[in-house]
């Protein structure tokens, strides 16, 4: 900078040509700079479907009137149809009165066959590429609950293997959920029936909830999810299994589109051993109520000190 403060000599002809060279250079810099800027942003032309005015202006789930929600559901159905050539049935099912869902998993029954993982993927329209699953099954050597000794990638010919037990983990639908507390935009919250849901249209994708979850239950769409047309489940719910977009969180929601219609979750129905049990804890006649009263029930060992009060229990019956 100091050098530029020498008083310029503007009288000689040589200086004039230098000045014009300078002007040409400056002009060229400005022009090529703009060209580089434009070219640098060129990848963005593939972004045409990133968002739409309708989606951009959409209000928070809690502030949508019934008519607005109807329009939103129509938009979703339209988008799904465009992408998958399939008219989905999109609903916004509300929690039922007097219902609080609880899940219990019998560790002495689970054989680690991972059918729950894939039934969940199919039911909830999870991306096949890149693949994304809500349920993790950890193979644990008998005699420990130290998860660092677990194996997530076991692939023997047959399960169960001697000397191991299997521990499926998914969202625990905590009564004191750390993920809800940390969300900066209230895109995730706990519903009256105990399900912690995500409004995919409101999530900004900061992944703070993912860092906060002590159960590794939340998943992020690092890329645009891809589902084969023939595997799309057309029975959809706004807070549940409607197709997600790139850059938002998702997680287990107890198959909200099924359970709020009275049905069992998909992971439960596919479980060949009946290790998975689900129901309304407020109903004294429900099997889940019976299990919590009669069985040796515990919440996720080593994680109880998190104070999250899960609605997902493990139990043993022999």
């Amino acid at each position: 900078m100091s050098a530029s403060e020498n008083k310029p000599d503007s009288s000689s002809g040589g200086s004039m040509s230098r000045r014009s060279f300078l002007r040409v250079s400056a002009g060229a810099t400005a022009l090529t700079g703009l060209a580089a800027l434009a070219a640098g942003l060129a990848p963005l032309r593939e972004l045409s479907r990133f968002t739409s005015v309708e989606k951009f202006l959409q209000k928070h789930y809690h502030e949508l009137s019934p008519e607005q929600m109807k329009r939103v559901l129509e938009r979703i159905a339209r988008e799904v149809e465009q992408q998958y050539d399939l008219r989905p049935h999109v609903r916004d099912l509300k929690p039922m009165d007097g219902v609080e869902f609880v899940y219990a998993l019998n560790l002495s029954r689970c054989i680690g066959c991972r059918r729950c993982v894939h039934a969940c993927v199919a039911e909830n329209n999870q991306s096949g590429d890149p693949d994304l699953e809500y349920i993790r099954v950890v193979k644990m050597p008998k005699g420990t609950f130290d998860l660092t000794k677990g194996d997530h990638n076991y692939e023997p010919e047959e399960v169960p293997e001697d000397g191991y037990f299997y521990m499926p983990v998914q969202c625990h639908q905590c009564a004191n959920p750390p993920c809800v507390k940390v969300c900066p935009v209230e895109a995730t919250w706990q519903e009256a029936d105990g399900i912690t849901v995500i409004d995919y249209d409101w999530c900004i994708g900061c992944r703070y909830c993912q860092a906060a979850c002590p159960y590794f239950a939340r998943r992020f769409n690092f890329r645009k999810p891809r589902i084969p047309k023939e595997r799309l489940n057309p029975d959809m719910s706004y807070l549940g299994n409607r197709p997600r977009e790139s850059g938002v969180m998702e997680k287990c929601h107890f198959c909200i589109q099924r359970t709020r219609a009275g049905r069992y979750p998909a992971c439960l129905e596919v479980c060949p051993t009946g290790a998975r049990k689900f129901g309304n804890i407020l109903d004294p006649d429900s099997e889940i109520n019976y299990i919590l009263k009669e069985k040796r029930v515990f919440t996720f060992i080593l994680k109880e000190d998190q104070g999250t009060l899960p609605r997902f229990f493990y139990y043993l019956d022999k």
């Binding site: 900078m1 100091s2 050098a3 530029s4 403060e5 310029p8 810099t29 700079g33 580089a36 800027l37 070219a39 640098g40 942003l41 060129a42 990848p43 963005l44 593939e46 972004l47 990133f50 951009f56 928070h60 890149p130 993790r136 130290d146 998860l147 660092t148 000794k149 677990g150 997530h152 750390p178 507390k181 940390v182 969300c183 900066p184 935009v185 209230e186 895109a187 409101w202 999530c203 900004i204 994708g205 900061c206 992944r207 703070y208 860092a211 906060a212 979850c213 002590p214 159960y215 590794f216 992020f220 769409n221 690092f222 890329r223 790139s246 850059g247 938002v248 969180m249 998190q306 104070g307």
Partner: protein, 426 residues
């Protein structure tokens, strides 16, 4: 009305000056712009591909973006280490340099905001964070707190610096009541931005590596070492390329600040390492991963030991009288900055995720695209800081003021007597 016009003309002249300089200035700005554009292009790619273009995974869901963010919040907070001596202890050596520290804070905050933005999966929904339009989860979410304190800090600093510089431009004494209260608010606020950023991590009960009270103090100590170290280097560059006089005494005052902060930082590090390893419980498994690796997974081990080495050497240099010579002081500063960047960025953010809550070990390495975006943001920050200095130095020297506004842009600087400083800055 004339007030507004004057102010706009002031801004216009500041902007104009940013495009004027000698060949070294253009070369520097050219290089930064090229890196910036490369980063912008990489970000465009990331927007199209999604965050899958980064090395982040469900297992390690924060990476180099949040690491840089954390480091830079510290740099921004460190401006108080210039402000406190001047406004509370009436230190004369640092008096005129406060502005440069605060400008660095502004540049650092801009970089912080950029790093948070590129980390978002859906930046198009940024307005969901704006109260009124969206639903800011305040005071529940520490991230919401961070949004509030960072933007507040930016505004505070912009107000203080903007007002001081504009007063100087108009050859007026600044009215004390119009900025001194904000200076004191900004002091507290600066501590708060880094505390809140520490709480962002500390508040997560599921991450034993972060969920400890020592993280907050360590953040502040390392910030008050790295920030002033950066300012020492910046001041020497200012001294070389402009005629602005920076006294050696000022640099040595900053040296003693870095010295003490670095001492505390290393002490706290020792406290933490002792707690993690002496008791030898199964809980310190993330720390074990960081310092020694878990079986074949040891990507961070060379980084953290490198950082510790740099920190210790920097501390030794700072304590020894040898760093009264600027050459050794500069080496110590560079070592401290790099060491703290690694230790607090990659060394804090990444191991918090390893192993996952389900015991899985997945390592993280930034991808090329991610690195380019980060470099682009750093270049953008340096670009912004250079522009701030380019405009503020002539104003502080009185070469750019209201009296010479009718002259041509370049001439106005070149013709006024260098260092003709009239009302001295209170």
């Amino acid at each position: 009305m004339t007030g507004t016009r004057n102010y706009l003309r002031f801004l216009g002249r500041c902007l104009g000056i940013a495009f004027v300089g000698d060949w070294r200035y253009y070369a520097w700005m050219g290089v930064l712009t090229v890196i910036c554009l490369a980063g912008l292009n990489a970000y465009a790619n990331q927007l199209v591909e999604g965050l899958g273009s980064t090395g982040m995974t469900d297992q390690v869901s924060w990476g180099i973006y949040i690491a840089n963010f954390t480091f830079l919040v510290g740099v921004a907070a460190a401006a108080v280490m210039l402000v406190i001596p001047v406004y509370i202890y009436k230190n004369r050596h640092l008096h005129d340099l406060v502005v440069f520290g605060e400008l660095l804070a502004v540049a650092a905050i801009l970089m912080c905001l950029a790093f948070v933005t590129v980390d978002l999966g859906r930046p198009d929904k940024f307005m969901h964070m704006i109260p009124g339009l969206g639903k800011l989860n305040f005071p529940g979410s520490m991230l919401a707190w961070d949004v509030v304190v960072l933007n507040g800090y930016l505004l505070l600093n912009l107000h203080i610096i903007g007002y001081l510089l504009y007063s100087r431009y108009q050859n007026r004494y600044p009215r004390r009541w119009f900025y001194i209260p904000f200076v004191f608010i900004a002091i507290v606020w600066a501590i708060s931005i880094h505390t809140v950023t520490a709480f962002l991590f500390v508040g997560l009960g599921g991450k034993e590596f972060w969920n400890q009270a020592i993280i907050g103090p360590r953040f502040l100590a390392s910030a008050f070492a790295a920030g002033p170290a950066l300012i020492i280097l910046a001041l020497q560059v200012i001294r070389r390329v402009s005629e602005y006089r920076v006294r050696n005494e000022a640099l040595l005052t900053l040296r003693s600040i870095v010295q003490v902060a670095m001492l505390i930082n290393v002490f706290l590090l020792v406290c933490e390492v002792f707690t993690k390893f002496y008791s030898d419980t199964a809980r310190g498994v993330s720390a074990k991963y960081l310092y020694f690796g878990l079986e074949e997974f040891n990507a961070l081990v060379p980084w953290i030991w490198g950082a510790i080495l740099l920190n210790v050497v920097a501390l030794a240099l700072l304590i020894l009288p040898v760093s009264r010579s600027l050459r050794y002081l500069n080496i110590a500063c560079v070592f401290a900055i790099v060491g703290i960047w690694v230790e607090k960025g990659m060394g804090l953010v990444v191991p918090g995720f390893i192993p996952t809550p389900l015991g899985e070990v997945v390592e993280y390495m930034p991808t090329w695209n991610e690195t380019l975006v980060s470099l682009g943001i750093w270049a953008f920050g340096l670009l912004a800081y250079t522009v701030f200095l380019r405009t503020s130095i002539p104003i502080l020297q009185g070469r750019l003021n209201k009296n010479n506004e009718h002259r041509a842009l370049t001439d106005s600087i070149e013709e006024s007597p260098a260092g003709g400083v009239e009302p001295s800055q209170p």
